[in-house]
Protein backbone atom coordinates (compact mmCIF):
# COMPACT_ATOMS: atom_id res chain seq x y z
CA UNK A 1 0.00 0.00 0.00
CA UNK A 2 1.43 3.33 -1.05
CA UNK A 3 1.04 6.09 1.48
CA UNK A 4 -0.14 8.89 -0.78
CA UNK A 5 0.43 11.63 1.73
CA UNK A 6 3.92 10.37 2.48
CA UNK A 7 4.75 10.17 -1.24
CA UNK A 8 3.40 13.66 -1.76
CA UNK A 9 5.44 15.03 1.14
CA UNK A 10 8.62 13.39 -0.11
CA UNK A 11 8.10 14.72 -3.63
CA UNK A 12 7.39 18.21 -2.34
CA UNK A 13 10.49 18.14 -0.17
CA UNK A 14 12.73 17.06 -3.01
CA UNK A 15 11.25 19.62 -5.34
CA UNK A 16 11.42 22.48 -2.87
CA UNK A 17 15.09 22.19 -1.91
CA UNK A 18 16.23 24.01 -5.06
CA UNK A 19 13.23 26.18 -5.72
CA UNK A 20 13.14 27.68 -2.25
CA UNK A 21 16.75 28.84 -2.67
CA UNK A 22 15.83 30.39 -6.00
CA UNK A 23 12.74 32.08 -4.56
CA UNK A 24 14.54 33.51 -1.52
CA UNK A 25 17.49 34.74 -3.57
CA UNK A 26 15.11 36.34 -6.04
CA UNK A 27 13.15 38.10 -3.28
CA UNK A 28 16.33 39.56 -1.82
CA UNK A 29 17.76 40.63 -5.18
CA UNK A 30 14.51 42.39 -6.03
CA UNK A 31 14.18 44.07 -2.66
CA UNK A 32 15.49 47.64 -2.38
CA UNK A 33 16.29 47.29 1.28
CA UNK A 34 17.64 44.52 3.52
CA UNK A 35 14.93 42.27 4.91
CA UNK A 36 14.76 40.18 8.07
CA UNK A 37 13.46 36.64 8.35
CA UNK A 38 9.93 37.47 9.40
CA UNK A 39 9.45 39.93 6.50
CA UNK A 40 10.81 37.38 4.02
CA UNK A 41 8.50 34.74 5.47
CA UNK A 42 5.57 37.11 5.00
CA UNK A 43 6.54 37.70 1.37
CA UNK A 44 6.92 33.98 0.68
CA UNK A 45 3.51 33.30 2.11
CA UNK A 46 1.90 36.46 0.75
CA UNK A 47 0.71 35.03 -2.58
CA UNK A 48 -2.02 32.67 -1.50
CA UNK A 49 -2.19 29.50 0.53
CA UNK A 50 -1.66 27.31 -2.54
CA UNK A 51 1.54 29.04 -3.49
CA UNK A 52 3.24 28.35 -0.19
CA UNK A 53 5.98 25.82 -0.75
CA UNK A 54 7.77 26.23 2.52
CA UNK A 55 7.03 26.76 6.17
CA UNK A 56 8.34 30.06 7.48
CA UNK A 57 10.62 28.29 9.91
CA UNK A 58 12.29 26.39 7.11
CA UNK A 59 13.53 29.52 5.34
CA UNK A 60 16.12 30.32 8.00
CA UNK A 61 18.46 27.40 7.29
CA UNK A 62 18.15 28.19 3.58
CA UNK A 63 19.05 31.83 4.19
CA UNK A 64 22.05 30.76 6.18
CA UNK A 65 23.10 28.31 3.49
CA UNK A 66 22.86 31.04 0.83
CA UNK A 67 24.88 33.30 3.08
CA UNK A 68 27.46 30.54 3.50
CA UNK A 69 27.83 30.39 -0.27
CA UNK A 70 28.39 34.15 -0.42
CA UNK A 71 25.15 34.91 -2.28
CA UNK A 72 23.68 36.81 0.65
CA UNK A 73 25.17 38.92 3.40
CA UNK A 74 23.58 39.86 6.70
CA UNK A 75 23.81 42.25 9.59
CA UNK A 76 22.37 41.91 13.04
CA UNK A 77 20.55 45.01 14.22
CA UNK A 78 18.88 45.85 17.46
CA UNK A 79 15.21 46.73 17.25
CA UNK A 80 13.50 49.34 19.42
CA UNK A 81 11.36 46.69 21.00
CA UNK A 82 11.69 42.97 20.83
CA UNK A 83 14.68 40.83 19.93
CA UNK A 84 17.53 41.85 17.63
CA UNK A 85 16.95 41.02 13.98
CA UNK A 86 19.19 39.68 11.27
CA UNK A 87 18.79 41.66 8.05
CA UNK A 88 19.71 39.91 4.81
CA UNK A 89 20.59 41.46 1.48
CA UNK A 90 21.85 39.99 -1.80
CA UNK A 91 25.51 40.37 -2.73
CA UNK A 92 26.74 41.21 -6.25
CA UNK A 93 27.62 37.56 -6.78
CA UNK A 94 24.12 36.73 -5.57
CA UNK A 95 22.60 38.89 -8.34
CA UNK A 96 24.82 37.24 -10.94
CA UNK A 97 24.01 33.77 -9.72
CA UNK A 98 20.30 34.57 -9.78
CA UNK A 99 20.52 35.19 -13.55
CA UNK A 100 21.98 31.75 -14.23
CA UNK A 101 19.56 30.12 -11.81
CA UNK A 102 16.65 31.88 -13.51
CA UNK A 103 17.82 30.59 -16.90
CA UNK A 104 18.09 27.06 -15.50
CA UNK A 105 14.66 27.40 -13.98
CA UNK A 106 13.16 28.54 -17.30
CA UNK A 107 14.72 25.58 -19.11
CA UNK A 108 13.50 23.14 -16.48
CA UNK A 109 10.05 24.65 -16.54
CA UNK A 110 9.80 24.43 -20.34
CA UNK A 111 11.07 20.86 -20.29
CA UNK A 112 8.67 19.68 -17.59
CA UNK A 113 5.74 21.53 -19.18
CA UNK A 114 6.53 19.90 -22.49
CA UNK A 115 6.71 16.43 -20.98
CA UNK A 116 3.53 16.91 -18.99
CA UNK A 117 1.81 18.32 -22.08
CA UNK A 118 2.64 15.17 -24.02
CA UNK A 119 4.96 16.86 -26.47
CA UNK A 120 7.37 13.91 -26.62
CA UNK A 121 4.68 11.24 -27.19
Amino acid sequence: MVDLQETHKKFQKELSSGTVSLALLSILVQSDEPLYGYQIGKLVGAGDEEGVMVKQGAIYPVLRSLEGQGLLASEREMSDSGPPRRYYHATDIGSEVLETWTATWQETKTFVDNVLGGKYQ
Binding site: S17, Y36, G37, Y38, G41, G45, K55, Q56, G57, A58, Y60, P61, V62, R64, S65, G68, Q69, R76, S79, S81, G82, P83, P84, R85, R86
Partner: protein, 313 residues
Protein backbone atom coordinates in the same frame (compact mmCIF):
# COMPACT_ATOMS: atom_id res chain seq x y z
CA UNK B 1 -4.44 29.04 29.47
CA UNK B 2 -0.78 29.31 28.70
CA UNK B 3 0.86 32.68 28.39
CA UNK B 4 2.65 33.55 25.19
CA UNK B 5 5.99 33.20 26.95
CA UNK B 6 5.13 29.69 28.00
CA UNK B 7 3.96 28.82 24.49
CA UNK B 8 7.20 30.09 22.99
CA UNK B 9 9.24 28.23 25.57
CA UNK B 10 7.30 25.03 24.94
CA UNK B 11 7.85 25.39 21.21
CA UNK B 12 11.58 25.96 21.69
CA UNK B 13 11.98 22.95 23.96
CA UNK B 14 10.03 20.80 21.47
CA UNK B 15 12.31 22.03 18.68
CA UNK B 16 15.34 21.29 20.80
CA UNK B 17 14.05 17.79 21.46
CA UNK B 18 13.39 17.28 17.76
CA UNK B 19 16.97 18.30 17.02
CA UNK B 20 18.43 15.82 19.49
CA UNK B 21 21.67 14.40 18.20
CA UNK B 22 22.26 17.27 15.78
CA UNK B 23 25.37 19.40 16.07
CA UNK B 24 25.23 21.59 19.19
CA UNK B 25 25.95 24.72 17.17
CA UNK B 26 23.13 23.94 14.74
CA UNK B 27 20.72 23.56 17.64
CA UNK B 28 21.77 26.91 19.08
CA UNK B 29 21.29 28.61 15.70
CA UNK B 30 17.91 26.99 15.12
CA UNK B 31 16.63 28.04 18.56
CA UNK B 32 17.84 31.61 18.05
CA UNK B 33 16.14 31.80 14.64
CA UNK B 34 12.88 30.43 16.02
CA UNK B 35 12.80 32.72 19.02
CA UNK B 36 13.59 35.79 16.93
CA UNK B 37 10.88 34.89 14.44
CA UNK B 38 8.16 34.07 16.94
CA UNK B 39 8.71 37.15 19.06
CA UNK B 40 9.02 39.53 16.10
CA UNK B 41 5.96 38.02 14.44
CA UNK B 42 3.95 38.25 17.65
CA UNK B 43 4.84 41.88 18.13
CA UNK B 44 3.98 42.80 14.51
CA UNK B 45 0.71 40.88 14.34
CA UNK B 46 -0.50 42.24 17.65
CA UNK B 47 0.15 45.77 16.45
CA UNK B 48 -1.89 45.14 13.31
CA UNK B 49 -4.84 43.57 14.94
CA UNK B 50 -6.02 43.97 18.48
CA UNK B 51 -9.24 41.97 18.44
CA UNK B 52 -7.80 38.54 19.04
CA UNK B 53 -5.97 37.34 22.12
CA UNK B 54 -2.22 37.05 22.24
CA UNK B 55 -2.19 33.28 22.49
CA UNK B 56 -4.51 32.89 19.49
CA UNK B 57 -2.20 35.06 17.40
CA UNK B 58 0.81 33.11 18.60
CA UNK B 59 -0.78 29.77 17.80
CA UNK B 60 -1.35 30.81 14.21
CA UNK B 61 2.19 32.18 13.99
CA UNK B 62 3.56 28.87 15.22
CA UNK B 63 1.41 27.07 12.68
CA UNK B 64 2.91 29.19 9.88
CA UNK B 65 6.38 28.66 11.26
CA UNK B 66 6.05 24.89 11.10
CA UNK B 67 5.93 21.88 13.37
CA UNK B 68 9.12 21.34 15.42
CA UNK B 69 9.74 18.01 13.70
CA UNK B 70 9.41 19.58 10.25
CA UNK B 71 11.70 22.51 11.09
CA UNK B 72 14.26 20.21 12.71
CA UNK B 73 14.28 18.17 9.52
CA UNK B 74 14.88 21.33 7.45
CA UNK B 75 17.86 22.31 9.61
CA UNK B 76 19.32 18.83 9.45
CA UNK B 77 19.14 18.59 5.69
CA UNK B 78 20.49 22.10 5.06
CA UNK B 79 23.23 21.58 7.57
CA UNK B 80 24.28 18.41 5.77
CA UNK B 81 24.42 20.38 2.53
CA UNK B 82 26.61 23.11 3.95
CA UNK B 83 29.53 21.89 6.04
CA UNK B 84 31.68 24.41 7.90
CA UNK B 85 34.61 25.98 6.12
CA UNK B 86 37.46 23.51 5.45
CA UNK B 87 35.30 20.54 6.45
CA UNK B 88 34.57 19.74 2.80
CA UNK B 89 37.37 17.23 2.46
CA UNK B 90 37.34 14.42 -0.09
CA UNK B 91 37.00 11.94 2.78
CA UNK B 92 34.06 13.81 4.24
CA UNK B 93 32.36 13.75 0.86
CA UNK B 94 33.12 10.06 0.42
CA UNK B 95 31.88 9.31 3.89
CA UNK B 96 28.73 11.31 3.26
CA UNK B 97 27.90 9.53 0.02
CA UNK B 98 28.64 6.11 1.46
CA UNK B 99 26.74 6.93 4.59
CA UNK B 100 29.62 6.04 6.85
CA UNK B 101 30.80 8.38 9.55
CA UNK B 102 29.72 11.97 9.82
CA UNK B 103 32.46 14.41 9.08
CA UNK B 104 35.22 12.07 8.00
CA UNK B 105 38.57 12.55 9.65
CA UNK B 106 40.80 14.78 7.62
CA UNK B 107 43.58 12.26 8.07
CA UNK B 108 41.98 9.93 5.56
CA UNK B 109 41.46 12.66 3.03
CA UNK B 110 45.12 13.40 2.43
CA UNK B 111 46.80 10.04 2.68
CA UNK B 112 50.47 9.45 3.17
CA UNK B 113 53.05 11.28 5.18
CA UNK B 114 53.38 14.18 2.73
CA UNK B 115 49.69 14.45 1.89
CA UNK B 116 49.40 16.76 4.90
CA UNK B 117 50.76 19.66 2.82
CA UNK B 118 47.61 19.59 0.69
CA UNK B 119 45.32 19.60 3.72
CA UNK B 120 43.82 23.04 4.42
CA UNK B 121 43.18 21.95 8.01
CA UNK B 122 46.89 21.51 8.67
CA UNK B 123 47.59 25.02 7.33
CA UNK B 124 44.63 26.39 9.28
CA UNK B 125 45.97 24.74 12.41
CA UNK B 126 49.41 26.20 11.82
CA UNK B 127 48.03 29.73 11.34
CA UNK B 128 45.92 29.26 14.47
CA UNK B 129 48.98 28.19 16.48
CA UNK B 130 50.94 31.21 15.28
CA UNK B 131 48.26 33.81 16.03
CA UNK B 132 47.09 32.21 19.28
CA UNK B 133 49.84 33.97 21.21
CA UNK B 134 48.33 37.32 20.21
CA UNK B 135 44.71 36.36 20.70
CA UNK B 136 45.57 34.42 23.86
CA UNK B 137 47.36 37.38 25.41
CA UNK B 138 44.52 39.75 24.54
CA UNK B 139 41.86 37.35 25.86
CA UNK B 140 43.72 36.74 29.10
CA UNK B 141 44.41 40.42 29.78
CA UNK B 142 40.84 41.37 29.06
CA UNK B 143 39.40 38.52 31.15
CA UNK B 144 41.59 39.31 34.17
CA UNK B 145 41.18 43.09 33.92
CA UNK B 146 37.45 42.74 33.44
CA UNK B 147 36.87 40.50 36.39
CA UNK B 148 39.22 42.43 38.68
CA UNK B 149 37.66 45.77 37.76
CA UNK B 150 34.16 44.39 38.21
CA UNK B 151 34.96 43.01 41.66
CA UNK B 152 36.74 46.23 42.58
CA UNK B 153 33.89 48.58 41.74
CA UNK B 154 31.17 46.27 42.98
CA UNK B 155 30.56 48.31 46.12
CA UNK B 156 30.05 51.48 44.07
CA UNK B 157 26.91 52.47 42.23
CA UNK B 158 28.68 52.13 38.88
CA UNK B 159 29.60 48.55 39.78
CA UNK B 160 26.61 46.92 38.17
CA UNK B 161 26.82 48.52 34.71
CA UNK B 162 30.59 47.96 34.63
CA UNK B 163 30.13 44.31 35.57
CA UNK B 164 27.42 43.84 32.95
CA UNK B 165 29.59 45.33 30.23
CA UNK B 166 32.53 43.10 31.10
CA UNK B 167 30.43 39.94 31.38
CA UNK B 168 28.83 40.69 28.02
CA UNK B 169 32.25 41.30 26.52
CA UNK B 170 33.39 37.82 27.64
CA UNK B 171 30.47 36.30 25.76
CA UNK B 172 31.19 38.49 22.75
CA UNK B 173 34.87 37.54 22.66
CA UNK B 174 33.95 33.88 23.01
CA UNK B 175 31.62 34.21 20.02
CA UNK B 176 34.36 35.83 17.92
CA UNK B 177 36.81 33.11 18.93
CA UNK B 178 34.17 30.62 17.76
CA UNK B 179 34.12 32.22 14.33
CA UNK B 180 37.93 32.07 14.22
CA UNK B 181 37.90 28.41 15.25
CA UNK B 182 35.37 27.54 12.56
CA UNK B 183 37.25 29.45 9.87
CA UNK B 184 40.69 28.08 10.67
CA UNK B 185 40.05 24.71 12.29
CA UNK B 186 36.86 23.65 10.53
CA UNK B 187 34.93 22.87 13.71
CA UNK B 188 31.29 23.90 13.34
CA UNK B 189 30.66 26.71 15.85
CA UNK B 190 27.60 28.94 16.42
CA UNK B 191 27.04 31.39 13.62
CA UNK B 192 24.78 33.57 15.69
CA UNK B 193 25.23 34.88 19.19
CA UNK B 194 22.95 33.10 21.61
CA UNK B 195 19.55 34.61 22.14
CA UNK B 196 18.59 36.76 25.10
CA UNK B 197 14.97 36.69 26.03
CA UNK B 198 13.85 40.32 25.80
CA UNK B 199 10.71 39.69 27.78
CA UNK B 200 12.69 39.10 30.95
CA UNK B 201 13.31 41.99 33.29
CA UNK B 202 16.84 43.33 33.48
CA UNK B 203 17.22 41.76 36.91
CA UNK B 204 16.46 38.29 35.55
CA UNK B 205 18.76 38.86 32.60
CA UNK B 206 21.52 39.99 34.91
CA UNK B 207 20.99 36.90 36.99
CA UNK B 208 21.31 34.68 33.92
CA UNK B 209 24.42 36.58 32.88
CA UNK B 210 25.97 36.27 36.34
CA UNK B 211 25.06 32.69 37.11
CA UNK B 212 24.94 31.30 33.58
CA UNK B 213 27.37 28.51 32.79
CA UNK B 214 28.08 30.05 29.37
CA UNK B 215 29.53 33.25 30.85
CA UNK B 216 31.96 31.50 33.16
CA UNK B 217 32.97 28.78 30.71
CA UNK B 218 33.75 31.57 28.23
CA UNK B 219 35.82 33.32 30.89
CA UNK B 220 37.74 30.14 31.69
CA UNK B 221 38.38 29.60 27.99
CA UNK B 222 39.72 33.16 27.62
CA UNK B 223 42.05 32.62 30.58
CA UNK B 224 43.30 29.26 29.35
CA UNK B 225 44.09 30.68 25.92
CA UNK B 226 47.16 32.45 27.31
CA UNK B 227 49.10 29.32 28.36
CA UNK B 228 47.76 27.41 25.36
CA UNK B 229 48.69 30.25 23.02
CA UNK B 230 52.22 30.40 24.41
CA UNK B 231 52.64 26.64 24.01
CA UNK B 232 51.20 26.60 20.49
CA UNK B 233 53.24 29.57 19.32
CA UNK B 234 56.48 28.28 20.85
CA UNK B 235 55.99 24.83 19.38
CA UNK B 236 55.16 26.14 15.92
CA UNK B 237 57.97 28.69 15.76
CA UNK B 238 60.63 26.40 17.23
CA UNK B 239 59.80 23.46 15.04
CA UNK B 240 59.56 25.57 11.90
CA UNK B 241 62.81 27.40 12.65
CA UNK B 242 64.72 24.17 13.29
CA UNK B 243 63.26 22.55 10.16
CA UNK B 244 64.19 25.54 8.03
CA UNK B 245 67.73 25.67 9.46
CA UNK B 246 68.23 21.97 8.73
CA UNK B 247 66.84 22.28 5.21
CA UNK B 248 69.15 25.16 4.23
CA UNK B 249 72.22 23.71 6.00
CA UNK B 250 73.97 22.61 2.72
CA UNK B 251 73.67 26.18 1.39
CA UNK B 252 75.12 27.58 4.61
CA UNK B 253 77.87 25.01 4.61
CA UNK B 254 78.95 25.10 0.95
CA UNK B 255 77.83 28.60 0.01
CA UNK B 256 78.88 30.54 3.10
CA UNK B 257 81.43 28.18 4.62
CA UNK B 258 79.61 28.20 7.92
CA UNK B 259 80.55 25.35 10.28
CA UNK B 260 77.50 23.10 10.34
CA UNK B 261 77.44 20.14 12.66
CA UNK B 262 80.08 21.41 15.01
CA UNK B 263 80.20 19.83 18.44
CA UNK B 264 82.27 21.61 21.09
CA UNK B 265 83.23 19.45 24.01
CA UNK B 266 85.56 21.40 26.29
CA UNK B 267 88.68 22.02 24.24
CA UNK B 268 87.85 19.35 21.70
CA UNK B 269 86.07 20.68 18.61
CA UNK B 270 84.58 18.07 16.42
CA UNK B 271 83.44 19.09 12.96
CA UNK B 272 81.11 17.01 10.84
CA UNK B 273 82.25 16.91 7.18
CA UNK B 274 80.23 19.20 4.89
CA UNK B 275 79.04 16.31 2.72
CA UNK B 276 76.78 15.21 5.56
CA UNK B 277 74.67 18.36 5.30
CA UNK B 278 72.31 17.09 2.55
CA UNK B 279 71.28 14.48 5.12
CA UNK B 280 70.34 17.34 7.44
CA UNK B 281 68.12 18.72 4.66
CA UNK B 282 66.26 15.43 4.45
CA UNK B 283 65.89 15.48 8.23
CA UNK B 284 64.58 19.07 8.03
CA UNK B 285 61.92 18.17 5.46
CA UNK B 286 60.88 15.31 7.71
CA UNK B 287 60.64 17.56 10.75
CA UNK B 288 58.64 20.19 8.82
CA UNK B 289 56.19 17.52 7.76
CA UNK B 290 55.90 16.23 11.31
CA UNK B 291 55.18 19.84 12.33
CA UNK B 292 52.33 20.00 9.82
CA UNK B 293 50.89 16.78 11.21
CA UNK B 294 51.18 18.23 14.69
CA UNK B 295 49.43 21.44 13.57
CA UNK B 296 46.55 19.43 12.16
CA UNK B 297 46.26 17.41 15.33
CA UNK B 298 46.44 20.49 17.59
CA UNK B 299 43.76 22.11 15.41
CA UNK B 300 41.47 19.15 15.87
CA UNK B 301 41.95 19.01 19.64
CA UNK B 302 41.61 22.78 20.02
CA UNK B 303 38.38 22.68 17.96
CA UNK B 304 36.91 20.06 20.28
CA UNK B 305 38.06 22.03 23.31
CA UNK B 306 36.50 25.26 22.02
CA UNK B 307 33.27 23.49 21.30
CA UNK B 308 33.11 21.93 24.74
CA UNK B 309 33.61 25.25 26.53
CA UNK B 310 32.01 27.81 24.22
CA UNK B 311 28.89 26.09 22.94
CA UNK B 312 26.22 25.59 25.55
CA UNK B 313 23.95 22.57 25.52
Amino acid sequence: MKTTDELIRTYLSDLKAALRGADKATVQDALADAEEHLRTALENELAENDEVTESEVLRSIIQDYGEPAEIAQAYRSWEAALPPALAETPAARRAATQGTGTTGRAGNAYPGFFGVYADPRAWGGLVYMLISIITGTLYFSWAVTGLATSLGVMILIIGIPVTIIFLLSFRGLAFLEGRLVEALLGERMPRRASFTDSSLSWRERLKILLTGKATWLSWIYLILMLPLGVIYFTLAVTLLAVSLALIVSPILSYGFNLPIGTVVNGDVIWQLPAYYTPLFSVLGVGLATVTMHLARWVGRIQGKFAKALLVSD
